[in-house]
Symmetry: C2
Subunit: 350 residues, 2 copies
């Protein structure tokens, strides 16, 4: 009996289409001959589409995308400072809108230092942790405004909104993940300053911790967490944190594990009410777009996260192993985007 | 004609008194025989005082401290998790209260990699930048609250407040500093997500930039800034940013320049309406308190910042040079806190 997965593909802008092409190549190769098929629909969204049509993400787009089993996204965003995009905010209007509307409350970002990958740290040690970043609340809710804008009397506010419902569900996910990993969970926040936003996180982690006595729970202020990410990243197993701190920590984590060219992520709706979305952590990098210079590995590892999420564990494992073998054999990486994709496909088929 | 500087000394908790003792030693040594005298008043404040008296910072304390020319602070805060401090919040009630009440709108945090200092980066390059962190606004204002606290229906909000008045004054300070340095200023924020809080910063930086055509202005999202801090910290000269992002970036910057045992800071009221306060970036480190193990260098460099702020440039220079000479001669640093202080005093007198 064969299974058909409906996949929405959003190549996006800049290097997005280049890396997604390789991710699709690898996906096609890993499922070839198996009893799973991917029925793909392509969505042209991003700065390019906005410039052509003025649309960012219409209700029709959203409805059509929601009617899939999963989403693969490259990267969206135009050239920084492009005056034609001044009022667009592709990030809020497209990327964050997808995350919020599709209730992607778990933003899953694994960080692993693969053997052979050069990174900025002199003595990195073993790095293998996952950041569980909340995806639908916190300072990202867009609950802000300003008065007397542009005058000397402007006041601009931005509110972080945190609910017990929203915090508890992501904290529960993080504890379950810690159970399956090395049973260590670190909450990162800034409870000493953000007493209300931090307080709800701390209380809920303490409550859920009581149900998981086998998970060792730790707390770090966000500033201290950045120190440990460069001095002792090996101490982390699962980090759970809010939307903004998770954004910051995962870029830093990507850097210490050899660059965001390798960092994959999943925007997950664990309940399955909406399709989850998989994307590299990196952006659209317009400065190198069209040159086939981007490393598609992060997009390919995002396919592995997607396969795992879809319950296709063996396929996910095979992609991850092929990537690991390719990475271990890398020397200077002067290869083009498709050369890296082809090499990983060859490893898969070996 | 001799000048008398009224100095409020707040040794604080944990390693605070140990590092402040060395900072005072160095201060005494550098002014010995000069026409400047420091008239010191000691204030017993912090977790220790709270446990004894229940007070954190009274109006009388504040009034007495305000009646000084400068403040030297060690570190405040008790043992994490101490149940007797559960409702204290020494950070908000003491440290942040001082910064807010004394209108310390510039939180000045230089980051420099001194020759010979081991750091976590394999190839750090030349690191020499200053973070100008806003000190009286942003997510630190304490403008938050929660409803249905502790129930499954809790909502906890925290509002970042940013005013044109508050942003402009710190941005102007940063531009003036960049003029005196390498004429490069980087604004760090998260304008693509925090559109209102980020928007006011961006607009004001653009406005003030127009008055400083010789300063090259750059913008980075906070997540990208953390990447550059570990992959190319040499690109920074002056970073200007809000209270929370500044907190995060300066701990990370401290780590990449060899640890927060060396990171000094000034909480500055440039207008001179209130005394400015100088303190190491590190905390009270209760785990090593009383053992004379802490490095007093950050506290000593904070004295140099203070001397500079007071217009005592030569004295500031001498302290900085003595510290640099000491650091350059360091091998493993098995020296005790007073041994390091004494060594720096000896360099001063050499
Ligand atoms: C592009 C931006 C809105 C986004 C975020 O802040 O979440 C990005 O930085 C990320 O981490 O996926
Ligand atoms: C102790 C804490 C309130 C403080 C801050 O967040 O400002 C500290 O981290 C710092 O950077 O001085």
């Amino acid at each position: 009996m064969s299974r058909v997965v409906k996949l929405a593909v959003i190549p996006g802008d800049g290097i997005g289409p280049e890396v997604v092409a390789e991710a699709e190549k690898v996906l096609d190769a890993v499922i070839a001959g198996s009893d799973v098929a991917f029925d793909k629909t392509r969505f042209s969204l991003g700065a390019g589409r906005f410039l052509e049509t003025g649309d960012t993400l219409t209700d029709d787009d959203l409805g059509a995308i929601a009617d899939h089993d999963a989403i693969l996204l490259g990267a969206v965003g135009g050239v920084p400072g492009d005056p034609r995009l001044r009022d667009a905010n592709i990030e809020r209007g497209l990327l964050l809108k997808l995350r919020f509307e599709l209730d992607h409350y778990v933003n899953l970002r694994p960080s692993k230092l693969y053997p052979g990958v050069p990174g900025p740290l002199a003595d990195p040690g073993d790095i293998d942790f996952v950041v569980v970043r909340e995806g639908t609340e916190g300072p990202y809710v867009g609950n802000g405004g300003s008065i007397r804008r542009g005058t000397p009397h402007e006041v601009a506010n931005e509110t972080s909104v945190n609910t017990a419902f929203g915090v508890e569900r992501v904290v529960r996910y993080a504890f379950a993940l810690a159970e399956r990993r090395r049973q260590k969970l670190t909450l990162v926040h800034k409870t000493n300053v953000l007493v209300h936003a931090g307080g709800i996180w701390k209380r809920i982690v303490d409550q859920v911790a009581a149900e998981h006595p086998e998970v060792a729970v730790d707390y770090l202020h966000v500033d201290a967490a950045t120190i440990f990410l460069v001095t002792n990243p090996g101490r982390f197993d699962v980090i759970v944190t809010d939307n903004l701190f998770g954004d910051i920590l995962t870029d830093l984590a990507g850097a210490v594990t050899g660059g965001i060219g390798l960092a994959a992520s999943g925007n997950i709706n664990p309940d399955g009410a909406f399709p989850s979305m998989f994307e590299p952590v990196h952006g659209s990098a317009p400065d190198i777009a069209g040159q086939q210079k981007a490393d598609p590995t992060a997009a390919i590892l995002s396919v592995a996260l997607m396969l795992d999420h879809l319950g296709l564990r063996d396929h996910a494992e095979r992609v991850t192993r092929a990537v690991e073998t390719d990475i271990a054999a890398r020397t200077s990486d002067a290869r083009s985007t498709p050369q890296i994709g082809d090499a990983i496909v060859a490893r898969l088929q070996a």
